[in-house]
Amino acid sequence: MSLAALLRALRPRRTIRPTRDGWWCLGAAVGLGFAAMNTGNNLLYLLASLLLGLIIVSGILSEQSMRRLRLAAVVPDEIYAGRATVVGARVRNLKRRLSTYSVALEVDGRRLYVDRLPAGDERLVTWEARFDARGRRRLPGVRVTTRFPFGLFVKAGRLVLDEEVVVFPAVWPVDGAWRRRLGAGGARPRRRRGRGHDLYNLRDYRAGDDPRLIHWRSTAKTGALVVRELEAEAALDTRIVLVGDGAGDGARLEAALSEAASLAAHLTRAEAAVELFGPGLHVPAGRGRAHLRRLLTALALYEARAVPAPPRPALRAGVAEIEIALG
């Protein structure tokens, strides 16, 4: 066992600190003890013992309250740099019979209070967190504390839930210039139902259908309400190419990665296939939310380094290519 491990093992599981009331109680116990010794009065010894007994019982009950309390982090799948996100912890009381009373989760300067957690029960506690930069980041960590039962001492456990999360680059709505540029390539109809412009199918009217989609000619012909189903439309499939390595200008690099992430999010929402290509990274083309997470994860974990860009595969027909300079 290394020295560090030994020290870690020897470190107390809890720390105890008197509150202001606790200091009063300790002071009164010491004062009474002195008075008892000075006078030899056993009733003063009794009262001093009462205060000491309260302090000991306080320690026992607070330990009982914090025993077998398990925390599990509840972290959203997507965390974006610069944007507030809700993080949570699922607090479970694994004790068989005894409830946990009056514990607080201290996280990032905030105190989240749980008044009572019955045996075997759990509670979800959430708070708002914000990460300013992309990449691997640690959660601020949660410390379980309690002043139970008398408010004389603050007992605190070790820091938990200080685990790593991947923070995606900041994603913003793409601006008008990008919209125009992406629109110039033309939308591509897809052979499935959607909200595009081309006709996909005609079918009988169902409750809830948009009246504007009623196909009057067919309705007149058949005598029953018939509605149009439209074909879905998708933006042009796109390859985003990161040019340069970004080693020179950090601010420029972050802005470029954020721009790439915003474009990827926009294109994914428009149901386009997006491919990412850059120095030391290549995410093949794909669609959907899961694919967007892969793209954002790659962008989040990108580190500026002088890696020669691999040769670009040939661009398939109908696929646009956008270059973004990393600086």
């Binding site: 008075a35 009262l47 013992s49 009950l61 398990r70 068989r96 409830s99 009056s102 509670r123 039962p149």
Partner: protein, 683 residues
């Protein structure tokens, strides 16, 4: 009936305040009228919420009041206060009332609890009554509840406005049970701490001595008839616990001549007995288990008594005759050649242990070298000293003792004649100018024990037999619950000690009352309560370093005895088999425990709010079917008036459970609202 947390807190505060006031009354720091006034002021503060608001609007007012009070207390200490304790008590009362009339937050409840606690502290030097124990336990139980409640209320007040914090704080039965358990644990730990904290240091600051009751009959000069006024008084004056009876036969409480000797007198002037002189002053070091030698040991059985003597204004140490040794806590013990033992703390309750060698059998058979009649004529003159005695008294004594074989037989004859021929009475009339003894012997022919004792002593002295009068107490009432005698003022008694050559001073009781009277059987509850009171004195009020050492010695002996058991030859194969069985059983227990824990650990994944929603829906008769999804259930609930609320809760449930995302503060608030709507609708 449900009680809100703040009401429960207020009730606890007022209970503690009442406890503190009762303690002040018990300790005599607050008289009856003061108690009534304080109680009325405290009770009135319960309804003074508007006044509290007005005072609260002027924060400077509270500060000004406290400053004025501090000045008043200083003035009181300097000018009129009888002691610092009185001034401290008045300050406590004042602060208590100020706090009661200005309390707003839970912090004020804590301050009031502290003030009530300091009332108990103030009373501690002023009382040793067992009622303090009751007040202490009440304070402990209510105080534990108050501190716990105050903590929870303060935490709830300070919590941020989230979903959890908005839930009203509930006073569950389990919280109350926990508080009671905490009280019980505090009592147990307090008891242990009290017993083991070393009693070190000196009593340098005795804050308030006990006001003693002065009982006549035990000073160095006692008029005949001094016991007259107390012989009907049932006040307990001491408790005598019989600890050991070494070398004796039968039960010690059944000893026929058991009395508690106090003071002996050697000089008589015709109306009063006095102690002519005292000798020998010795110092006993405090707290050390050093016995103070009183009388030479003659080799008979020894009775050890632990005595708890109430303050009666007398310095005398009481105990069964003959006192051999005294164990006590007093710095100074005075012993004179009459066998009188005294300590100079007549106003304090005394606890001491004495070893005595009771007189058994006929003393004439003894031939003790140390108990020979002294040849010093001054000694004989001292114990045969008499004032002018009427000739008919001398003649009477001569007539009774004529033909006696020895002085002891003469003494027995005189004692027997007095007991037979004269009557015992508590009704004492002044003899006027008449000689009291002559009046007793020839005119009234009735008197109390003092007259009998004085008559016997005088008649013995007329015959040249050394005698002296002794004042003390009869044995009292036996309490079987604590194995001790309860001695009351009405048990005060006088008898005679006569010197028998070869046996020393021997007691004779001529009074008809001297024969042990069957005591009235007190109610068992009263005896039990008195035993509790004695335990309180023995194990709390009088607990000392000596007791701690004795207890430690008892524990040490018990441990030593156990470890000193004879060694048994070990069969190692049997030990191995036993170890294997224990290991297998232990593993099974651990495995079972883990299974149970893991079973407990499998907490359902249903969020609590959805579980609550399901319960509310169930009250409307709508429960999920086997295999029915949450959405299907929501579809079935469309026909109910709470369809909207339940639909929103279902959506939130799906998001939390299957989406793995936490609710935001806004969503949590919305869920809270939906739950409220659902539960309102289902009641």
């Amino acid at each position: 009936m449900t009680v809100s947390a703040s009401s429960a807190l207020a009730i606890a505060v007022y209970l503690l305040v009442a406890d503190g006031l009762a303690a002040l009354f018990l300790g005599g720091l607050l008289g009856g009228a003061g108690l009534m006034l304080a109680a009325a002021a405290v009770a009135a503060s319960w309804w003074q919420a508007p006044l509290r608001r007005r005072i609260g609007a002027r924060p400077w007012l509270g500060t000004a009041i406290v400053v004025v009070a501090a000045g008043a207390v200083v003035l009181e200490v300097v000018t009129v206060a009888a002691s610092m304790l009185d001034a401290f008590t008045h300050l406590l009362l004042f602060l208590l009332l100020v706090k009661l009339y200005t309390r707003r937050t839970s912090r004020d409840a804590r301050d009031l609890a502290f003030l009530a606690f300091f009332m108990l502290v103030a009373v501690a030097p002023a009382t040793t009554s067992v009622v303090f124990l009751a007040l202490f336990v009440v304070f402990l139980v209510v105080g534990t509840w108050l501190l716990m409640l105050r903590h929870l209320v303060a935490e709830t007040e300070g919590a941020p406005p989230s979903l959890e914090a908005r839930r009203p704080f509930g006073l569950g039965r389990d919280l109350f049970a926990l508080s009671l358990a905490a009280s019980a644990a505090t009592i147990a730990i307090t008891t242990v701490l009290f017993l083991v904290i070393p009693r070190v240091g000196q009593a340098a600051l005795p804050l308030r001595p006990h006001v003693s009751r002065l009982v006549s009959g035990f000073s160095e000069r006692v008029e005949l008839g001094a016991f007259g006024e107390i012989e009907a008084d049932s006040t307990v004056v001491m408790r005598v616990h019989l600890e050991a009876w070494r070398g004796g036969q039968g039960r010690p409480e059944a000893l026929p001549a058991l009395r508690w000797r106090g003071i002996a007198f050697d000089a008589f002037d015709g109306r009063a007995w006095t102690v002519s002189r005292s000798t020998l002053r010795l110092t006993l070091r405090r707290e050390l288990p050093v016995a103070f030698p009183v009388h030479r040991y003659y080799g008979g059985p020894v009775l050890t008594q632990e005595i708890f003597l109430e303050p009666i204004g007398s310095e005398m140490i009481f105990g069964a005759a003959r006192l051999l040794r005294l164990h006590g806590r007093s710095d100074v013990v005075t012993l004179d050649d009459l066998g009188n033992v005294a300590v100079p703390v007549p106003s304090a309750r005394l606890n001491y242990t004495v070893d005595s060698e009771p007189e058994t059998g006929d003393p004439r058979g003894l031939n003790l070298a140390d108990a020979r009649l002294p040849s010093d004529p001054r000694w004989l003159a001292r114990y045969t000293q008499l004032p002018p005695v009427a000739p008919r008294v001398v003649a009477l004594a001569q007539g009774i003792t004529a033909g006696a074989a020895d002085p002891y037989e003469a003494a027995l004859r005189l004692s027997g004649w007095l007991g037979r021929e004269l009557k015992y009475t508590r009704v004492l009339e002044s003899p006027g100018a008449e000689d009291p003894l002559e009046d007793f012997l020839f005119v009234r022919r009735a008197g109390n024990c003092e007259y009998f004792a004085a008559a016997l002593a005088v008649m013995l002295r007329t015959q040249g037999i050394p005698a002296r009068v002794v004042n003390g107490f009869q044995r009292g009432e036996w309490n079987p619950y604590g194995d001790y005698f309860i001695v009351r003022l009405r048990d005060a008694h006088s008898w005679v000690e006569v010197f028998v050559d070869g046996a020393g001073w021997v007691s004779l009781d001529p009074s008809p009352r001297g024969v042990p009277e069957p005591t009235a059987v007190a109610a068992r509850a009263m005896l039990w309560l008195d035993a509790l009171r004695l335990s309180w004195y023995r194990y709390v009020v009088s607990w000392s370093l000596h007791d701690q050492l004795a207890a430690a010695e008892t524990v040490r002996r018990a441990v030593w005895t156990r470890s000193a058991l004879p060694r048994v030859a070990l069969d190692w194969r049997a030990v191995l088999r036993a170890a294997m069985i224990v290991a297998v059983l232990g593993s099974a227990v651990v495995a079972l425990g883990r299974r149970r824990r893991s079973a407990v650990g499998r907490v359902t994944d249903i969020p609590r709010f959805y579980a609550r929603a399901l319960r509310a829906l169930a009250r409307r008769g709508l429960t999920p079917g086997a295999g029915e999804t949450a959405r299907e259930l929501a579809g079935r609930a469309q026909s109910t008036p709470v369809a909207g609320a339940f639909g929103r809760l279902t959506a939130a449930y799906e998001r939390v459970r299957f989406g793995g995302v936490a609710l935001t503060a806004d969503e949590a608030a919305a869920v809270d609202g939906c739950l409220a709507e659902l539960e309102r609708g289902s009641r």
